[in-house]
Symmetry: C2
Subunit: 119 residues, 2 copies
Amino acid sequence: MAAADRLSETFAALADPTRRAILARLALGETSVTDLAEPFDMSLPAVSKHLKVLERAGLIVRGREAQWRPCRLDPSPLKEVDGWVEHYRQFWEKSFDRLDEYLRVLQTKEKKRGPRKSK
Amino acid sequence: MAAADRLSETFAALADPTRRAILARLALGETSVTDLAEPFDMSLPAVSKHLKVLERAGLIVRGREAQWRPCRLDPSPLKEVDGWVEHYRQFWEKSFDRLDEYLRVLQTKEKKRGPRKSK
């Protein structure tokens, strides 16, 4: 798959709060589908559907054991998301720099004015 | 909108290579829809459709001038994506640490063995 399409598939898979919650759970360690389903108050087929989307996007890997198919997080697609969003980081870091500069100007003014008189 | 749903909308808007290309173009500066459409070999209505998705997700802001409605990038939703993906950064940073450690072990072995004999 082209890198661009892979990224689209990753973003599409992440565009759902339940799927993001599943990833957050798997970040703590691998677990069974039954244990994954528990906190969501969802049917197993509904959870399985979400897992299939995550698996297709390469965000999770599932064990091949017949009885217990543990799910594990695969962070590689998230690393690509991180790499993509990095190009835009300059925008808020710049804003932060401007805020920082503004605060410095305020502090300088404050110092020039001297300590405030107490009432 | 709840923060979780906003994030879902952002991810859904980013799940398209053309929309990501539009954002990359806007990262260079605000521009008109006509100029935006040019490199994509797309009809203006097709581009407008993408812009509407980006606008709804808060990723772009459009000017209100009747003749020229410049598009501008709004990085705030991307900052949220960055904040979200940050929680997973430990996974590849850990792998990197392991690689780093492995390289150190290799170098130590190399030193113990001494310089290679030239043939």
